[in-house]
Every structure is written in C-alpha cells, then in structure tokens.
C-alpha cells in the first residue's frame, strides 16, 4: 500500500494557505475545515512550509499580537514531503520517528494532498484487518459445517 491509496479516498481538496496571508486567515481555515495543519504553498502549488495549530498555540502563548502576523513568520519551513508511490511502511516509520503529524505529498513539484498520521494508522489497521479477514474466510471454508 502506498500514499496514493490514502489520497484517493480523501477527495480532491487540499487546504492550503499562502505565506503572505495572516494567522487570522489561517485559523479560520483550520476551523472551517476542522483540520490541524495547513500546507503553505507558493506559485503553482509548490509547498514551502506547514502551519500547524501547535505553531500558532506556541506563539500565542508568547505574545498577544499573533492574529495579525503573517503565516511566513510562524510556519515550519523544514518540511518532510512524501511522494504518491512511497510505501506505507516506510512512511509510518519516518512519521513516528520524526514526530511528523502531517505529510504533504508532492508529485512533480506540485502538492497533490496531505496525509496525517491518523490516515496512516487507519490504512495500516485496515490492511491488517483485511488480511485477517481473508485468512479467516479461508480457514472457515476448510471446516464445513462451521458458520461465522
């Protein structure tokens, strides 16, 4: 299983923000879409950073004028990105080790989606459940007279 599998059932919409927008605008997007992070893009959907709720909370605890500031000032610039063909196992390992909660997925320089650690855990769980289901169906078929 790879990242494309996760993105395929997440609709076509990726919520993005531009670095010159304000934190107020960013917060509104987070609230409206009920999500934890925004991908900051430039030009034709080229990701340049990520703005998470934590970035905002951390800054708000420090100073009061956070709302009027620019996304560029608070965003994390050093972002790990994925590719659609990256396999889930490697991605799960890297996201866990590096404490990454949101992974922008990039194809030929353009943002094509975001995968959260929750998406990855769910996909892995469904993969294991699917394998268990298949094995169980075969075992039961070997035992005539038994029902599920």
């Amino acid at each position: 299983m790879n990242l494309a599998t996760i993105l395929a059932r997440k609709g076509a919409q990726t919520v993005t923000v531009r670095s010159e927008q304000t934190i107020r605008e960013g917060l509104a997007l987070l609230a409206r879409h009920n999500i934890g992070a925004l991908i900051v893009v430039e030009g034709a959907d080229r990701p340049v950073g990520i703005l998470s709720e934590r970035d905002i909370v951390r800054e708000a605890a420090r100073r009061e004028d956070v709302f009027a500031r620019k996304v560029a000032e608070l965003m994390t610039r050093d972002v790990i990105t994925g590719q659609p063909q990256d396999d889930l196992q490697s991605v799960a390992h890297t996201m866990t080790e590096k404490r990454v909660r949101h992974l922008p997925v990039v194809d030929q320089g353009r943002l094509v989606g975001v995968v959260s650690i929750g998406d990855v855990v769910k996909a892995q769980r469904d993969e294991y459940r699917g394998e268990a289901e298949t094995l169980q169906a075969q075992l039961l078929a070997d035992q005539p007279g038994r029902s599920q």
Binding site: T5, A8, I80, D87, H93, T94, D126, Q138, L140, A141
Partner: protein, 466 residues
Amino acid sequence: MGKPGTTEQPLRVAIIGAGPTGYYAADPLLRQEGVVVEVDLYDRLPTPYGLVRLGVAPDHQKIKSVTAAFDKVAAHPRFRFFGGVEFGKDVTLADLRAHYHQIVYCTGAQTDRRMGVPGEDLQGSHPATEFVAWYNGHPDYRDSQFDLSVERVAVVGVGNVAVDVARILCRSADELAKTDIADYALQALRASRIKEVYLLGRRGPAQAAFTNPEIRELGELADADIAVVPAEVELDPASRASVEKNPDRATMKKVEILQGYALRKPSGKSRRLVVRFLVSPVELLGDASGRVVGMRLTQNELYATPTGALQPRATDRFEELAVGLVFRSVGYRGVPLPGVPFNEKWGVILNEKGRVLDPDTKQPVVGEYTAGWIKRGPSGVIGTNKPDAAETVECMLEDLAQGAVRAPAQPAAAAAEALVRQRRPGYVSYADWRQLNELEVARGRALGRPRLKFTRVEEMLGALGR
C-alpha cells in the same frame, strides 16, 4: 413521508458490481438493526464474484472459497442479484435515481497502466490482465489470442498479477488440468512451447510486492526451475540501511527465500522461471513485421526519498533481453462510469471516505457512494475491501440518519424488477446463478476438475433455457 429504512418503506440500495466489495457493502447494510434495507446487486456479467472468479488464479482454488461467505450474504431475503445488466447501458444513472435511495459503485480497477515506453503496442505485447481474464474464462476475453509458440516471455512487474501470470505460464499441463482454468486456455497452454519466463522487478527483492507464500510457491513448480541473478538478490546499501532502521521479519524472510534460489542448480525441468530485480524496460524491440522480438532494459539503483521509501533510478547500464511475448503488469486504474464524477489523478471515482463528490462544489452528491478499488485504487487482498466497504456503509447510514437520501419516484422493489425485466428480459438472478454454478461443478466433476466454466454469455443463458 418519513425517512426510508422501515418495513413500510425499506431503504432501497443499488450496488453496482458483484465483486467482493459489492458483497462486503451489502452485508452490513442487510444486517443493520433498526434499519430495513433492500439491496439489489447489479453486474454487467451474468456471473457474480468479480475477480474471485475472473482474476484469482485457477491454481489458487482455496482463495476462491471466500465465495461461501458471499453466498451467505446473497441468501438474505432482502437481497437480489441482477446479473447481465450493465450500468450505463441497460440501466442508466437516471433509472437508478428513480428507483433507489442510495447507489454504491463497486466496479473495481478495470484497466491496466501502460509502461509508457516505445514499442509497447507491438504485436505480442499485452496487458497481463488480458491474459488473466482469458485463462479465467472472462466472456469479453475468451477469444483473445496469445502466441505461446515463442520460447521466451517477459512479465513486467512483480505484484500478485505478474506472479500469477508467470506461474501459470510455467505450470505443466497436468498441474493445470486439476484447476478450473478455462478449457480453451488449457488446450492452448498444453501446446505452449515456452521455455523461459522472466519476471522483471524495477526495485530490489526487499521491495517486491509479492508475498512469501507466493514466492515460495514459485520454487515448488512441478516442471519449472526457478533462478535469480545472485548479485540482484543481495541487499543494496539503501535497502540494507532501510531494513536495519526498520526491521521487518517478513521482508527478511522474503530476501532469504530469494537468496536460497541463488544457490539452486538447474534440475533439468523443462522450463525456467527467472526472477530479475532492479531492471526496467525502456523499449520493446520489434521485427520488420511488427512483432516483439526483445526488450531493452535499464538497470536501476535505489535511492531513499525523504520519507525513507526506496524508489528506483535508472543508471546508464543497459542490457537486451530476447523475448517473443511481453505481459505488462505495472499497475491498474479504474474506468470512469457514465455520469459519475471521476478523479483522473488517482484513477478512482471522486470521493471522500466513499461519498461521491461533485467535482465543482466538492460537496457530496446525495445518495451516491463508492467502495473498493474504484474508491481507493487497487491495493491489498480481497479482505481489505471489507473495512473499506464498512467505511462507506457508515457514511450511508450517517447520511440516512441526517435525512440526506434521494427521494426516488418509484421506491418499490417490484418497480426496479420490472425495469430490469423490460431492459434485460434474460437477466440472471441468484437462483439462476446457483443453477449455473451446479452445472459448472458437475461438468468439472466428470473431468476431475473443480468446475468447467461457461465462458460465453450465450452459453450461460442457453444452459438456463433462455
């Protein structure tokens, strides 16, 4: 009028596609407590089970036993099967909207990805799925032709489909004769002159998609020796670093099995199956008459992407492989359905968790859903579609509770049946299918085979007296 889902007005659901996902979607709907659901399962073919009948290899009968669970779903009194009724042709989206509260598309990934290399369309170069559909007796492919008089064949890819194709090509006629492989395919393969089959993986042994039982099975063929290139089954530095950081027993075992094959000596069996790694075709070579005679391969090296996944990168080392037949199995994608929003990027129906989305507003299209490979792309095993379909059904019931269902003009089971009868008088019901199944099994029993399939639609309808 109140919400549907009661004895007076059951929730009427049409499921398109009678593969595993269709049943996995029907099952939780029919088992709902407190919601009365009626399911009509449509398939364009007269036979159900989708890829379990027409994709799973004939020498893997045990995997096909999952159909027993599907038949249990079909035994529910509020379940009906409309076989041989094609969506978009025999019944349109408008028809279904007039008869059902909810529609679920489960049509799978019906087409293959192209390799994108010159010569791909030369004679003798085929999608692996076409060969699979042919040997499994798919009515649309039973008349396909494959030149099995050549000596060397390449199968591009190392996923389940590629492995199935290579294994079937290497099986002896005696091995195949015990399976439910289509009878014409058995005859054709009996006359096969193939001596060498190459399985070509673009990455290394640690990244290959095949499972350990599958690769072990390749080493136990009655009349084919397995071979690998020793240097290609040694872990490259990137793979070594990756397994050290993130150890995985199944991966280590897979590499160990393949390294074991490197030590094997030819035992004099009549065929040879060669599993190659770190190679990609860059061109298929043809002769003057436009037939494949070989392929040019580039050797790859692996590099780690930022997430640690290993991807192949072409080097400037090339080689040529003389082959007269090529099967490509480098990925699959869904086919758009008439009137249903499609996501070209991923080759699936545009959806969120199984709710079909309007491409303009990105909001759900009320009453339309999707599940399985046409929802998420081809991944996992048969059972992976169960949690996938469950997610879709959860959305359907949530929407029902919110009152977000269609209000069809004719929400009665009898009206839908009348429509189908009018459009496809010879449609196949589940009882009809059970009868066909018994006939196939009986025909097979006489030959010592699990079944002898009907492979033409007319043959099936004829057997039912239509």
